[in-house]
Point group: C2
Chain length 189, copies 2
């Protein structure tokens, strides 16, 4: 998606071998026009899939999910992180690991909001090692939902999580796939 | 806002003297059509205020903020909770207290994304004791921004936070103001 890649090149900051700061438009300040275009692009790619629910995880997935849900006309379900959880009742849970912050978190979704008849598109802002996405896939499968695929705004391909999941048969559409960012130079795949 | 009140009466669950569960449409599963209407209602109420930025706090404020930002055509900034924060650089911070979960959290906003020329509308899903809103107001003031007011989806008026802030001069527009919910019966003000 050229508009997104252009924005990354112009504004994103490479802060380390695997840290890309995009909080000026994606995950601290949110450029609503860009996210609207992102949502429309995900819709274009998954339009034929009869998706009836979008699944993401708090916090920074929520904006992407909502702006995409407008294009699909479907509800969003966001997994809660357990330290905040007051979900109550029966939940699907999965453990995810943040390598950036070096912490394990349990994410959960109430069984009331995800079920076997759902055709689910998972969305997230970033894909790196794939831990959050793997956790969301796990939750969709516990619910018996059909996983249509995953839409990712920025994939750091060199961290390998996305390609491992593709090999396992998951359809992943990343709008910006970063092959490398050595010496601060961002190379798209 | 009648559409919202109707939804609360039909679906919300009163789980205790001050806990209202609306996670079937607002803060776990998100009804995008309802949130679109909520965003348009906030726009109707604050349309003349030359707002150029919407401020909220992760996680459940993000959906409300994004859906309202579409109507205003402005960016969203969401405060991060410190345990997740990788904001870096100079930040405005404020301590908020969750009475529901009995924990103190520090919220922060990078000084890059809020400044003295901003005319800010604060949005959140709930207003109860007013701690989160007070923290966001504090952050807007640290930035020297003009606080236009606050838009709240559901205010639990009987918890008093909103009225204390109104008395201090803050304009607060709540789309559903709950006066009481004794014995599980929701009474709007």
């Amino acid at each position: 998606m050229e508009m997104l890649k252009k924005r990354i090149v112009e504004q994103a900051k490479v802060l380390g071998p695997d840290i890309l700061k995009v909080d000026m438009f994606l995950n601290h300040m949110i450029d609503i026009s860009l996210l609207k275009a992102i949502g429309e692009e995900f819709h274009r790619r998954f339009a034929d899939e009869k998706i009836n629910k979008i699944l993401t995880v708090e916090a920074s997935g929520i904006a992407v999910a909502c702006m995409t849900a407008i294009a699909f006309g479907v509800p969003v379900v966001f997994a809660k992180k357990e330290e905040h959880s007051n979900v109550g009742g029966l939940c699907y849970t999965s453990d995810i690991y943040s390598f950036t912050r070096n912490i394990k978190t349990t994410i959960c979704v109430s069984s009331s909001y995800l079920c076997a008849s759902d055709r689910v598109l998972i969305l997230d802002d970033f894909l790196a090692n794939g831990s959050a996405l793997t956790g969301l896939i796990d939750i969709a499968r516990q619910a018996g939902s059909t996983l249509v695929g995953a839409g990712i705004v920025i994939e750091k391909g060199f961290q390998g999580g996305g390609n491992a999941l593709r090999e396992s048969g998951v359809r992943i559409e990343s709008l910006a796939y970063i092959e490398s960012m050595d010496d601060g130079i961002i190379v798209f795949g």
